[in-house]
């Protein structure tokens, strides 16, 4: 039964192949339905696999499809490793992907390249599943690059706008840094273990020299930082919002960006075998990222950019969990985040769609009556991400905070502050979009600090106006409307998930199903931090979290509804400009960095290319000389053969002398 696991990635692959060749002919909307059906089929198979896996010994199953690169010692198979970790991931990836595919049929309606969009989307799902299911680092890396490539394609899907194209490029460059780390880690792993297979490498990790283990773990972490948009490589993710909103929901919130967290969880024995400071590094980066991104989220004016920075921040929580030894907590947050963030993005998409491609929150307001379903589901996502019980985000974030406290009170404090800010910026977004006065046709206020946004060349503006501008020529009169059922149905399903999914792992009694389910993964259980807290302490921590989240929502209510607190308290220019980090990078790249790269480029041009061209030129020169021998006369050819023969025979005479 479990042998059929190959069907899970194969179905989206089939969808991709069919759409590549026949997409144009199938057209809209059938191509969308085909893609959706494939991914949904994959989800159904995943569920069946999950049921079978319950009976499998150790809840683990490995399948080697075929030998891919048999090169002496270097053996790589295309193989799958199905264990509770990959099972959990493929379940939510295929499930959420199905919903987002469905939503996209509505969202992408009328787009010229409708079939192409679904082609990429299916390819993405296939790559993501290979990433998760691969039983060795190389297959994972293939998936890793595959999702990356799909991400670039989809970010710049509307490539006719410069900003979109350059956002794709930015994502590409930032990810290269991470991929470099992954590759180095892969080479080192092969040198150290002679294998890339998880089931071979990971059990042997404890015996590894601590320095080597540290090196591999840190290099893999570099890869994870790139893919999961952590400091210092987080800059690409906000710009990635240039892609269509379903892409943001699927790739840049729910699935691909969590690949780094997955990788770290997968190789937990390697982290355990490393120096202690590696865990501090991971937790530190996570904590820093979650705080910085949350502050930036406070001041953004673009509805999707708020969510983008929120994603960066939530990923920071996951890395904080990994660094604190809470692997199950990280996976748990990954799952809940996938639900509520996908919900929020799709909700935002619905708003953008209803507002005729308006993304600036300052031109929204009072939408709750006009878009009741979007509003209702959005509120559930909002409460979930803000961490209010009993919604899903509360349970997972609280568990991370518990692990953080176990690691260090400082980390706990940072996490708690992040939670407060999360509640504030999400409250701000909901109040700006759904409450207050309608500002649909207002000009963008000139005096606000946010105006800098528009005249900022470096800051890639996020707007999707281009793709549907022809459909809505009359932009002056905006009449917000609720979206079609294709878009609201996924919202409702996701809202149910976002509300309830937290109950798979409640920290009391035997209710921590997910944690116990994940115990069979590698050495996850052994390598997890063990919490010394009693139920009473945990209850106390829960109350603290709840109070903090409620405080955040109250502050937002006081600021944006009541007006008691000044908005400028939160909407600071420093935050809007993302701590000037982007500009710093730009300035460095334009100044001293540029000089450095010029120098490297010069070296490459003159020395490296010189050598290569020299080889070519030298060979040409030699070729001209040798060409003279090739004069077409049989007699000179025979002479050449004779000379060769004489040399060969003469050599044999020398052999005789040697003896």
């Amino acid at each position: 039964m479990l042998d059929a696991i190959w069907l899970v990635p194969a179905l989206p692959l089939v969808g991709f192949l069919v759409l590549v060749f026949l997409g144009k002919r199938i057209g809209e909307p059938l191509s969308g339905w085909l893609a959706t059906a494939m991914v949904f089929g994959s989800f159904v198979v995943s569920v069946l696999m999950g049921l079978s896996l319950l009976d499998a010994p150790d809840h683990t199953f490995e399948l080697s499809l075929f030998s891919w690169i048999p090169a002496g010692d270097f053996q790589v198979d295309i193989g799958f490793l199905l264990d509770p970790l990959s099972m959990t991931m493929i379940l939510f990836v295929t499930g959420i992907a199905s919903l987002i595919h469905l939503y996209s049929i509505g969202y992408m309606h009328g787009d010229d390249r409708f079939p192409t969009f679904f082609t990429y989307l299916n390819l993405f799902v296939f790559s993501m599943l290979m990433l998760i299911l691969g039983n060795n680092l190389l297959v994972t890396f293939l998936g890793w690059e595959g999702v990356g490539a799909c991400s670039y394609f989809l970010i710049s899907f509307w490539f006719t706008k410069d900003a979109n194209a350059s956002a794709g490029k930015k994502a590409f460059v930032a990810n290269r840094v991470g991929d470099w780390g992954f590759m180095i880690a892969m080479f080192a792993t092969f040198l150290a273990f002679g294998s890339l297979n998880y089931t071979t490498v990971l059990p042997e990790a404890p015996g590894l020299a601590i320095g080597v283990a540290t090196f591999i773990a840190v290099m893999l972490f570099v890869g994870a930082v790139g893919k999961s948009a952590q400091i210092p490589l987080f800059i690409w993710l906000p710009d990635a919002m240039a892609g269509p909103t379903p892409v943001s929901a699927l790739i840049h919130a729910a699935t691909m960006v969590t690949a780094g967290v997955y990788l770290m969880t997968r190789v937990n024995p390697l982290i355990a075998a490393s120096y202690e400071w590696v865990t501090w590094l991971i937790a530190g980066i996570g904590a820093l990222t979650l705080l910085v991104a949350a502050t930036i989220g406070l001041a953004q004016t673009d509805i999707k950019k708020v969510l983008a920075y929120s994603t960066v921040s939530q990923l920071g929580y996951m890395f904080l969990a990994v660094g604190s030894g809470g692997y199950a907590a990280a996976v748990f947050h990954m799952v809940t985040h996938a639900f509520f963030k996908a919900l929020l993005f799709l909700g935002a998409g619905s708003v953008i769609h209803g507002m005729h491609d308006e993304q600036d929150m300052r031109r929204m307001g009072a939408l709750r009556k006009l878009m009741p379903i979007t509003f209702g589901t959005y509120v559930i996502g909002w409460l979930a991400i803000s961490g209010l019980p009993p919604f899903s985000g509360f349970w997972s974030k609280d568990e991370i905070l518990t692990y953080a406290l176990n690691k260090s009170p400082v980390l706990y404090a940072v996490g708690l502050l992040g939670a407060l800010l999360t509640a504030v910026y999400m409250g701000r977004q909901v109040f700006l979009v759904f409450y207050g006065e309608p500002r649909w046709n207002d000009p963008i206020p000139e005096d606000a600090p946010a105006t800098a946004h528009t005249d900022d060349a470096d800051d890639a503006p996020v707007d999707e106006a281009a793709h549907a501008a022809d459909a809505h020529d009359e932009h002056a009169e905006v009449h917000p409307h609720e979206s079609s059922w294709l878009m609201t149905l996924p919202l409702i399903i996701l809202a149910i998930g976002a509300a309830l999914i937290g109950f798979i792992n409640i920290p009391f009694g035997d209710l921590d199903f997910l944690t116990r389910w994940l115990e069979d993964v590698d050495d996850l259980h052994a390598n997890e931090a063990h919490l010394p807290y009693s139920s009473a302490t945990i209850l106390l921590l829960i109350i603290v979290s709840t109070v903090v989240a409620s405080l955040g929502l109250a502050l937002a209510w006081l600021t944006w509804i009541k007006g008691v607190l000044p908005r400028s308290l939160w909407e600071r220019r420093f935050f809007l400009k993302a701590w000037y980090y982007d500009e710093l990078v730009t300035r460095f790249m334009g100044g001293p960095g540029r000089a450095l790269f010029e120098a490297i480029a010069w070296f490459d041009r003159t020395v490296i290319d010189g050598v290569v061209n020299g080889v070519g030129a030298g060979a040409q020169l030699a070729g001209r000389g040798l060409r003279r021998v090739q004069n077409g006369y049989v007699r000179s050819y025979a002479l050449l053969i004779t000379i060769g023969a004489i040399l060969v025979i003469a050599f044999m005479f020398t052999r005789l002398l040697v003896r």
Binding site: F66, G72, Q620, G623, V634, Y637, A645, V648, L656
Partner: protein, 624 residues
Amino acid sequence: MSAGILATMASVAQTGIEPISGPIGIEPISAPVDGAVPTPEITWAALLPLIILGLGGLLLLTLSSLLKRKAPRALYPIWTIATAVLAVASVVPVWAKVQGFNSILWWDFRDLWWQPATTAPGPFSTLGGAYGVDGFSLFVTVLICCAVILTTLLISGYLQREELDGPEPYALLLLAATGGVVMAGANDLIVLFLGLETISIAVYVLAASHLRRAQSQEAGLKYFILGGFSSAFFLYGIAMVYGATGTTNLVLIKSSLAESIPRHDLLLLVGFAMLLVGFGFKVAAVPFHSWSPDVYDGAPSPVVAFMASAVKVAGFAALVRVFVAGFGQYAADWQPLIYALAVLSLVVGSSLAIVQTNVKRTLAYSSISHAGFILIAVEAASETGTAAVLFYAAAYTFMVAGSFGVATLVGRAGDGRHSLDDYKGLGRTNPVLAGTLTIFLLAQAGVPFTVGFVAKFYAVIAAVQAGSAALGVVAMLSAVIAAFLYLRIIVAMYMAEGDDGGSDAPADPADHIHVPRPAAAALAICVLVTIGFGLFPGWLTDMAADSTVVLVEQGSTDASTALPGGQTLIVDDEGNLVPAGDGAVAPTEASDPSADPATGDGAVEAPQVQDPAAAEGTASVERP
């Protein structure tokens, strides 16, 4: 077959035959009692591919001359392809026998009347030990048949276009293939020479077969004269080796060399050298390469595809069989020569290729460079090296057949448009054709995810494992140089403007190249193989690794390379071919294939009942 006998046979095969007393080779030939001529034992089933190919060629010639009216055009190519396919099919049971399988997938060989059941599973030899049947010879046989099929597909359209229709080219292809198969399995230098001459003479004629092109005639003549020249070297080498060892049988030569190291035998060493000259000429290794650019340039393009694939493959197969398997004891003496030939071929081949302006000449030099690559795997003189040779040969067969296939089409009527200028703008006028050629060129350059990369990779690995890291470096550097020449053609196709002006101009219908269906099929096969085995080389590498070359004397099998007992090959859960665990029936020991009157040609055979006792005392190999 009891394990005891198997073990005995294995040990016999490993230790070779008993030392022959007295001066080697000068035993008096005992006069036949009763006046009966001693007839060597023949395992007809193992010769079936050979017989099918040879008979197919001869029948094609005879039957076509008997036809009153002109035969339908498609008859000859279909006949040729059918013959080659049949030959491949006849290899399968022999392969199973050699590898020790009773059945492959659903095909059970135990009940076949022509199942070669005389011996235990494992490589064996037949025709009095003159023809070896092992994984290696069978692999090469299949490869040559593939080359025949591809060439037939290419040449059928070509002959029609050039108005040269007739059965002769097809018959010659089949006869050449017969020669190649003989070379692949020859365990005797004389037999090897027979095969060499068969393939050579057939190809001389093929090279000259374009009646209206002077270059074609010239190419045939040049090839013939120089080929005769090198054959003389080869024959002289055989004579010298015979003089030194007293035999032309490779098994006996091997055992003779094994017992007499070190021997100060100039005769032997010069014999090696002469043989190497002959082989060097056949595989077009520098400095014995000079004929190949002229011949490749002049000969009809599909014939060049055959020359570059089948003829080279056969040459390399014989080289490996004679030098690696036969003269392995003296590797220290001939390895430096192969080393030098490899370096020269790599460097000269790729350097001269980039100064050419004619695409066929360019490909000829690139073919020399490829020969250098295969030579570095030969130089390794190891099992990895042999597997690498086979893999490279297989990969190269398809890459080069594809490349020259496109050259055939681009050459257009008259087969004359082969200059780089003729390829300019091909990407615009014939995008599919240009894309196909691009794939073959990139594969030849060794770009990853093509079969060419894997082939180069294994060759270099084999060299490095054998301790010749420097050779690997030279190979890779020359691959860099060679990449330039392939890119040059690609650049010409895509980036340079066509003769007729701007890129915006609509494609001139006259520029559109007609691609006949068979040629399209051939190119499609080549693309599939090039990409398919580039992405998933596992199956082919396993096959190549299983195809070991083993020298076994008549009446014995080398059981060490076979699986114990008769086994059934099945598809396991993971989709691999594995021996089945269930107790498959061991092959019957004393089956008597000669009981069937249909065995072949009504030849009188000696009783073929294998006596286990005789298998143990295999010292006496029948010699005339």
